[in-house]
């Protein structure tokens, strides 16, 4: 009886980690099919912290502007001030669990930060970095 309860609870708790792993691996396969090489967490971190200049406004843009330097903490949307939940999956297990969401946010946020869509390699590197957090 007790073992059953513990087992079910453990399974339920494991779902986010399982879905996270499966979402990332699905995307990694897709990015590789698009020509990406092996993914590097170090390269992902470098891209994450790099500052870009917006061509139109001349403003500085980078991922930490909204997500803050400490990804275990809440961030803040640069123009609306809306609170952004922590990015680190260890703090926020909902992160990196849905392929559709990951794709949507990569498009939105790469376009805002870099002024263009990210390459398959860049996206894979950033995922490799984020999943270690």
């Amino acid at each position: 009886m007790n073992i059953k309860v513990i087992g079910i609870t453990a399974l339920l708790l494991a779902i986010p980690f399982y879905t996270q792993a499966s979402a990332i691996s699905e995307l990694e396969t897709e990015y590789k099919s698009q020509g990406a090489e092996a993914f590097s967490a170090a390269a992902g971190e470098a891209l994450w912290t790099k500052t870009f200049i917006d061509a139109k406004s001349g403003d500085k843009r980078s991922c930490p502007i909204c997500h803050t330097a400490d990804l275990a903490k809440e961030g803040k949307h640069a123009s609306t001030g809306k609170v952004i939940k922590p990015m680190a999956p260890s703090v926020n297990p909902q992160r990196l669990t849905e392929v559709k969401k990951i794709k949507k946010w990569f498009v939105r946020n790469c376009k805002w930060t870099l002024g263009r869509e990210c390459t398959a390699q860049e996206k894979g590197d950033v995922l490799a970095f984020l999943k270690t957090l």
């Binding site: 139109k56 609306t80 001030g81 949507k104 498009v107």
Partner: protein, 377 residues
């Protein structure tokens, strides 16, 4: 020395005004002043309380006019207009006859004030129900009708102020002409009179019930403030539950407050969803199904539907040939926020015009009740 002054020397204080009459008089004064000072919608709950109290007072006075005893009963001060004219002539000749109770001119002021009070209360309730969708008559009238009643309510209040002014002049003139302090008489209840004059009973039991009811009413009405905390401020008026939509709330609420569809006309939402790839310099990258579903919800509940006072007024204020994408460009929005300084907008607790919820406690709900407006400390 006139005859009346001669008599004064032999007179003793006699109670003319019983306690309920005096309590009614001064509480009504307090209600009128309070309601006047709280006419700005952000103090609506206090204004409405003053209105309800005034309603109770007037109903009481109408009843008291039949059972209130000497000087308080209407038949003790029912004068026709000839008597009023004669009295005014007497005042102009500086020899008005002295009345222990209400004089003819004062009586007519009372009837006029009571009538105006009744009309003010009725128009106030109709306006509150039509414009704010609150109170016992909520939704009985639509917004334009509610607005007209509101205008009438204000006009009647001005009229009442004029009658109050006339009444005060009358009190002053009569006090001077008869060399007696009528204001003090309304406070203490006593006037100098011959010893065998009929006196009013104190009626303290009725007065006690009145005081208890007024205090109880106040406690019931304002109790929300007692349990409020800085994190959970009290909202005196809670608006209706507006239509909601999970996908809309999730997608639009991801980057900013999910601005309720009722805050912009349908044409604005259609344009916004058509241009979702350049949404305020961002590519939302929403899938066509998502766009269609959210757009349907937005259009169905747009400002034209008049779900709230804000919705109706925003829609009214935007010229029909304009398609605004920012709520903050609507003339109604601009008018309502014109007094807010740049310093306030830039305050970190406010964080700009995009952050409605900094001051509007019900921003996420979309109702934007006047009384839910709350500047952060």
């Amino acid at each position: 020395m006139t005859q009346s002054q001669e008599q004064n020397s032999k007179q003793t204080p006699v109670r003319i005004w019983n306690i309920p009459v005096r309590l009614f008089h001064w509480t009504l004064v307090a209600c009128f002043i309070t309601a006047w000072l709280t006419r700005d919608n952000r103090y609506l709950d206090i204004h409405v309380f003053a209105g309800y109290l005034m309603t109770g007072l007037i109903l009481f006075r109408l009843l008291w006019g039949f059972i209130g005893g000497p000087y308080a009963c209407f038949h003790d001060f029912s004068f026709d207009w000839h008597e009023v004219l004669d009295y005014i002539k007497g005042v102009l000749n500086k020899k008005p006859p002295r009345f222990l109770g209400h004089n003819p001119a004062g009586s007519w002021a009372i009837y006029l004030l009571l009538t105006l009070g009744v009309l003010i209360v009725i128009t106030g309730l109709l306006g509150l129900g039509g414009e704010e969708r609150q109170g016992p008559l909520a939704g009985l009238l639509n917004y334009p009708q509610g607005k007209r009643l509101q205008d009438l309510h204000e006009l009647l209040a001005w009229l009442m102020l004029c009658v109050v002014g006339t009444h005060l002049i009358g009190v002053l003139v009569e006090s001077l002409l008869h060399k007696e302090n009528l204001v003090r008489a309304m406070l203490t209840g006593y006037k100098p009179a011959k010893a065998d004059t009929i006196a009013a009973a104190s009626q303290w039991k009725t007065a006690t019930v009145m005081v208890i009811m007024i205090i109880a009413g106040g406690v019931v009405w304002f109790q929300g403030y007692l349990t409020a905390t800085p994190e959970q401020p009290y909202q005196p008026f809670v608006g209706p539950d507006l239509p909601d939509h999970d996908l809309w709330r999730e997608e639009c609420g991801a980057c900013h407050l999910a601005f309720h569809p009722s805050l912009l006309p349908a044409r604005s939402w259609k344009t916004m969803m058509a241009e979702q790839d350049t949404h305020f310099a961002e590519d939302l990258f929403l899938e066509p199904d998502t766009v269609a579903e959210i757009e349907a919800f937005l259009v169905e509940n747009s400002a034209e539907q008049g779900l709230t006072e804000a919705a109706w007024k925003i829609n009214q204020s935007i010229p029909k040939d304009q398609t605004l994408l920012r709520i903050t460009e609507a003339p109604y929005w601009l008018k309502k926020h014109q007094e807010i300084s740049d310093a306030t907008w830039q305050d970190p607790k406010v964080n700009g015009k995009v952050n409605c919820a900094a001051c509007h406690l019900d921003a996420a709900k979309g109702t934007f009740e006047d009384a839910a407006m709350h500047l952060p400390n």
